[in-house]
């Protein structure tokens, strides 16, 4: 029962390790260059899964404020109020609207991972462009055949 508890509550992290090792295995052992690039993409997505899992809180919603919360926070005393949140809650004098940070997931990891997704697609595009260039040069996208052609002096 304890083992089931340890696996089920942290299942994202277990699956992240499994997916990352699948990607690493493909990058090392596959002969086809496109298969290698698919493995690289799987590896990158696994790391993004790990980082997004860090920011999750129990019972929290998406990090977006409601309209009336925004309206109250940007009222007449809006800028002065935000510096007084001692208990992690920002209070407004006019209306008793509480913004509790525990109600929202951590948006910092989301912003970092947006950059990582774009970088991942760029590396995939460059890798596929190099694959097309190699196919035009050697007539093959298998790694061992390309190495054979290079070794035989062409």
């Amino acid at each position: 029962m304890e083992l089931f508890e340890a696996i089920s509550t942290k299942i994202n992290y277990w699956v992240y390790i499994v997916i990352m090792m699948i990607g690493l295995f493909a990058m090392i052992s596959k002969n086809n260059l496109i298969k290698k690039l698919i493995g690289m993409s799987i590896f990158q997505t696994a790391i993004i899964l790990f980082y997004v899992s860090i920011g999750v809180k129990e019972g929290a919603t998406i990090p977006i404020l409601y309209h009336d919360q925004v309206h109250a926070a940007h009222g007449d005393h809006g800028e002065a109020d935000t510096s007084h949140g001692e208990h992690g809650a920002v209070e407004s004098h006019e209306a008793d609207i509480h913004i509790n940070p525990d109600d929202f997931t951590n948006p910092l990891v989301h912003v970092l991972m947006l950059t990582a997704i774009v970088v991942g697609v760029s590396t995939l595009g460059v890798g596929l462009a190099i694959t097309q260039k190699l196919h035009r040069e050697f007539g093959s996208i298998e790694e061992h055949e390309i190495l054979e052609i290079i070794k035989s002096g062409k």
């Binding site: 596959k30 799987i42 920011g55 989301h110 774009v118």
Partner: protein, 81 residues
């Protein structure tokens, strides 16, 4: 009951990752990789990371799959492993 939904998606995620690397036809591998990206996007929407989810849906499942399919059509479709 969100954890049942998450667990089913995580199992399918591992299955699609393995299938897309095992299948010999590279066009099938590209399409199954698109399915993998879309499952990952559903998982992030469930984890309240909506901005990451729709970026992954547009960029991961859309643009990556199109790049892979374009490369497969310009090179060869068969894979040795």
């Amino acid at each position: 009951m969100i954890w049942i939904f998450d667990s089913i998606i995580l199992i399918f995620l591992v299955v699609t990752a393995i299938i897309s690397l095992q299948v010999k036809d590279l066009l099938s591998a590209s399409m199954i990789f698109g399915v993998y990206s879309f499952l990952m996007c559903l998982l992030w929407a469930g984890m309240a990371a909506v901005d990451v989810a729709f970026t992954e849906a547009a960029v991961g499942a859309g643009v990556s799959a199109v790049f892979l399919i374009a490369t497969v059509f310009r090179t060869s479709r068969r894979s040795s492993d």
